[in-house]
Symmetry: C2
Subunit: 314 residues, 2 copies
């Protein structure tokens, strides 16, 4: 059971290792959406995404013996980069297990931060077997991307900063994938203001959390065919109950709207964000009546997008 005190302690623990990221506003986007929008810019976070919050919180709680054996994870995306960066900063080794078909820019990202890469076949059994063998060999501690209380509390610190900076928010929208950020956001928000409504935004093409809520049990993704490559995971056993109890609603977004909203954010806010978080702005636009005249926080989770794959230009 996570309490708000755990999130405060996490924030104290990690604050020297992360940026307190800015909150951006736009008069014209406010006018056009008939809401007051507050964009929490985790794309400016160290390693380019919020993932450093949870990873750092988990790593800082390892004991000396665990640190000596290093850490390991299976995420090839933003979590992999965050784990590599944190490990390097603490002078310990990080191993990131990646499928052989991982895209070059993600490999480069992990390498830049000093992570050791071990390739596996692109399927779950090979990944789990490789993880098992590596842990058996090195004794490294597994840093899960979301299904871990230390990760959830770490990710909750983004919403803590947002709520501290922007008074009287009515709603917060954040992306949902494995649910670490959404559940951390929920626990933070409900502790600080029980009336604050928390929405998750999820791709139509990877809608496991949406269907899990309907079915009242964790459902698998039927497809993960979305440009929002950070949102392809399945909601976790620890994160789902928190989401199930408190989330206002999961808002589904089409691929076209994910891309269109990314274009608008790039053009108008002059910032690079990933499709995995433009989805929150898309969810707002698609549900503008719901958010009319509200003060809405939007968590922009990351900016690690491959600039050679601009989706609106062929």
């Amino acid at each position: 059971m996570i309490t708000y005190r755990d999130i405060e302690l996490a924030h104290d623990r990690i604050s020297n290792y992360i940026h307190r990221t800015p909150v951006l506003t736009s008069q014209t986007l406010n006018l056009e959406s008939s809401s007051k929008l507050y964009f929490k810019c985790e794309n400016f976070q160290k390693t380019g995404s919020f993932k450093i919050r949870g990873a750092t919180n988990a790593i800082l709680q390892l004991n000396k013996k665990q640190l000596k054996n290093g850490i390991i994870t299976t995420s090839s995306g933003n979590h992999g980069a965050a784990v590599s960066y944190s490990a390097k900063n603490m002078g310990i080794s990080a191993c990131v297990i990646m499928p052989k078909n991982t895209t070059p820019n993600k490999i480069e990202n992990v390498k830049r931060y000093g992570g050791e890469i071990v390739f596996c076949e692109p399927n779950i059994s090979s990944r789990e077997e490789t993880l098992y063998q590596m842990v058996k060999k090195s004794g490294a501690s597994i840093i899960h991307p979301y299904n871990d209380h230390k990760i959830i509390t770490g990710q909750g610190t983004a919403a803590k900063e947002l709520i501290e900076e922007v008074k009287d928010l009515d709603s917060i929208i954040c992306p949902v994938s494995g649910g670490g950020l959404l559940s951390g956001t929920i626990l933070t928000a409900k502790a600080l203001n029980p009336n604050l409504k928390i929405y998750g935004a999820e791709p139509e093409n990877a809608d496991d959390t949406y269907r899990s809520l309907i079915n009242k049990k964790i459902m698998s993704n039927e497809t993960t065919d979305t440009i929002a490559d950070g949102l392809r995971a399945q909601v976790g056993t620890l994160t789902f109950p928190i989401i199930q109890e408190h989330v206002e609603e999961i808002l589904l977004v089409s691929e076209k709207m994910i891309i269109d909203s990314m274009y608008v954010i790039w053009q108008r806010l002059k910032i690079i964000i990933e499709p995995s978080c433009s989805i929150v702005f898309a969810a707002l636009l698609l549900n503008s009546k719901k958010f009319e005249n509200e003060r809405v926080g939007l968590i922009l989770t990351g900016g690690n997008y491959d600039l050679n794959k601009i989706p609106w230009q062929n």
Copy 2:
């Protein structure tokens, strides 16, 4: 003769109408460039560029009768948008004279801020004749894009903020076109710290200021064939003498380096900037020995780039 007091007064005058833009840093870019870099982000400025500083400073000094007749300019780029926005804010009319072949995104930018557009033929004589006729008809005040003391002092406020925020800068690099920003930066910097070196960055393909310094008189551009569309103007009669007296050097940059450096800034700082200012980062990289171990301010002047024309993706 502009004094630093004029720049202070300009700053007081406009500060309620502009953003105090953030200064970004990047550990990894510092490491890779062997310098400490401070990016002054005028891409986050109102209307997406620093041009609002000078335009606002000039408009706020018009008297009642002048305000009633409205304002007029011939710039179709960032200055045109800034003039339109300022006029709208003050409840006066703005007219922007544009060549018929102006690109749609620039037309849209001026329209968004409420400027009235008058088209002319795409040549200087038609532009000047249209301006003359319009002024004769309306009595509107001309807000020049750079060759005006009020514009120069307004643009100097960007460097003032940068120098106030970042102590002990060794150098500042800013783009040069008509020279409003560069001369304003020079006057500010030399008043606050005579040892601070000020560099201009200019496209090889529009190198009038570079050649003007060599020839000790204002030279015309032989070509303006550069992706840095904000840097195609010719240095002004008021700005050139200031530049000539104080600038450390004009650093020339190829088209390829302008584009490559834009890619790096987008990818690493997660911000959208125009090629007209990625040129300052390119100038630093091309002259890395010169700036080694220095604390360098880089003025990122704007973020109004047409996202449908990403130059590295075909």
